[in-house]
């Protein structure tokens, strides 16, 4: 009987082609949108993790309360000891120091007089240690437009946009008007080793990247850091594990009123990111639900139309001695076969397009010149194992459900009434 049904499906294009196209299209959209959202949300999450939040972040309580102001006067002290302790307690994580700073970037002329000035947002990371992964984590080598990575202390990278605007060349000296962690004004001078473009409007407007030891020297922060970031060695953010680590750490340091005591936050604790992560979690579920409902309605109609077109066939089959329940079951089998074919085709196309956009991405930089959020300008999809079933199951379900609803009308009729209606 299955062979008989398959022959019918393959030969009767109107029975199979339209539903296959509808299911394929729906599954394609679901898979592609899911891959796209995974990529976009994942990029933003990774970016926030890599640039600012880490998978978990340790600060002083006072620093955490005023984090937006980057209050280095409230930075963590004796950071080496803290990192050793963290590494011992959480061996699956890598711990790094970060110092963020703000200031005025001053570009002097030949005589040492100010030629140009602009606000700068600086970030000090470990660039010079041989085993440091920080440069790769921030994608610095690939972001360099001119020049090279700093090779020795005193060398910095500045944003290419900044360099273009103020006509700063490789090898030029620049100064930063800032303050030490104790409040004294400092004007350290650095040599520009290279320019970079992160592809993030917010960072590219006035970024300075320097080695952490240079920042320690410049801002009088020896063995201090505004933040200590922790990354899972797998490179993937695990919210549940981050929660365990955070709670254990904070529990350990809860027994004090010291405002300089360390406190840990996980990535999801960052208020805007929390909403974002929640949205990312809900979005896929919503997409799938909308797909199943919309496709079920469409396929119900397709099933009804197909059922109407095949009324005579059902009538003949009744007369030949086929039971109503058997006819109903064959409608469901057919729907499952067609749904599977459509779902496979849709999944293949959805994954293929997602893979293409994962490799190539879409550049939205022209639309994001004034964006102040930390967002990438090139968006990419992401192919995950989830894509292999996120469209397939709803595709199969919607087709089967749609046809089951259509077939139910036939199933519930009295045989005699049905036979009359079946126009035999």
């Amino acid at each position: 009987m299955i062979k008989f049904l398959l022959k019918g499906i393959l030969r009767d294009k109107s029975r199979s082609l339209l539903p296959v196209v509808v299911v394929s299209l729906g599954v394609f959209l679901t898979v592609f949108m899911s891959g796209w959202m995974k990529g976009v949300f994942g990029d933003m999450i990774d970016m926030n993790a890599n640039y600012t939040m880490g998978h978990v972040k340790v600060m002083t309580r006072a620093y955490a309360d005023n984090e937006a102001q980057i209050p280095n006067d409230l930075a963590l002290l004796e950071v080496s000891e803290l990192i050793n302790q963290l590494s011992a307690d959480y061996p699956d994580m890598e711990w790094v120091r970060r110092i963020q700073f703000g200031g005025l970037l001053d570009v002097p002329d030949k005589n040492g007089e100010t030629r140009a000035q602009g606000p700068a947002a600086g970030r000090a990371v470990d660039l010079l240690s041989p085993d440091s992964k920080e440069a790769e984590r921030l994608n610095i080598p690939k972001s360099i437009v001119k020049g090279q990575m700093p090779q020795s202390p005193g060398e910095v990278l500045i944003s290419d946009e900044f360099a273009e605007r103020f006509d700063v060349n490789i090898g030029d000296e620049i100064s930063i008007l800032g303050s030490t962690m104790y409040g004294s004004m400092v004007v350290p001078t650095f040599k520009v080793a290279g320019t970079l473009n992160f592809g993030m409007a917010m960072l590219d407007r006035g970024a300075i990247i320097m080695d952490i030891t240079d920042a320690e020297m410049a801002f009088d922060m020896t063995d201090a850091a505004g933040e200590v970031l922790g990354y899972f060695k797998s490179g993937l953010y695990d919210d549940e594990q981050a929660l365990i680590v955070r709670d254990a750490f904070n529990q350990k340091h809860s027994d004090t009123d010291d405002e300089f005591a360390p406190i840990m936050q996980r990535l999801r604790d960052e208020p805007s990111l929390k909403q974002y992560l929640n949205m990312a979690d809900n979005m896929s579920a919503m997409m799938v639900m909308i797909f199943v409902i919309a496709m079920s309605i469409v396929l119900w109609n397709t099933g009804l139309l197909g059922g109407l077109r095949r009324y005579t066939e059902y009538g003949v089959r009744l007369a030949l001695g086929e039971e109503k329940s058997h006819i109903f079951r064959t409608i469901i089998y057919e729907a499952m076969i067609i749904g599977s074919i459509g779902s496979i085709v849709g999944s293949i196309f959805g994954i293929a397009v997602s893979y293409y956009l994962q490799e190539n991405g879409i550049d939205f930089s022209a639309l994001m010149e004034n964006v102040t959020m930390m967002m990438p300008t090139v968006y990419r999809a992401k192919v995950t194992p989830e894509l292999f079933y996120i469209g397939f199951i709803p595709g199969l379900l919607a087709m089967t459900l749609g046809n089951a609803l259509a077939g139910y009308a036939i199933y519930k009729r009295k045989t005699a009434q049905l036979f009359k209606e079946l126009e035999v």
């Binding site: 008989f4 019918g8 029975r15 003949v316 007369a319 030949l320 001695g321 039971e323 109503k324």
Partner: protein, 234 residues
Amino acid sequence: MDDKVIQLQSLTKRFPVGNGYFTALTDINLELQKGEFAGLVGPSGSGKTTLLNIIGSLDVPSEGTATVLGNSIAQLSQKQAAHLRNHHIGFIFQTYNLLPVYTVYENVEFALLLQNMSANDRRKSVMQALEWVGLTDKEKSKPSMLSGGECQRVAIARSMVKKPQIVLADEPTANLDSKNSHHILQTMQTLNEELGVTFVFSTHDEKVMQYLKRKISLADGRVVKDETVMADSV
């Protein structure tokens, strides 16, 4: 053994219409013996098709009894009724109702698929049925490639392939020209004589009436005449 294959006693059939009922058949009393070649004759609306559907276990009487091959139609479950149709009753329709996407062979084979017969036995039975109607050379053709007469012969093969005891034919020649009608009727007559299958027609076609051995005339849902015709009248 009792040769009565169909017994209808005080059979009445009503259909709900609005708040009331429409009576399609009233007090029908009939008996048909094995091997009869009988016709329900009458104008449209006389109740022929309704009676045929009850005999075919597609419908049930509102009053009275219809007993087909020893089965009281009203007492049959859906499954039992389907089994009766599948194994013992063949249907032939006015518009052939062949499944257009399947070949002649597959159309005839379908009834046997429902019986879970082995592929070899199915092949033998289908080819035999096609031989009865002279269409063995068309087994791979689709219905769209056949003439009306050939389509109806396929429909006869489909109804006969399971070797039923009763074949119910609803206006089988209505869509055929005179030549094809006679060809079809001769085929059915041969099958009736050679295999002893009981044929019951619903018709108002004079050509069919020429072949009938028994004419049961219906008017307004009642049997108004029941006459046996001499076999050599054709």
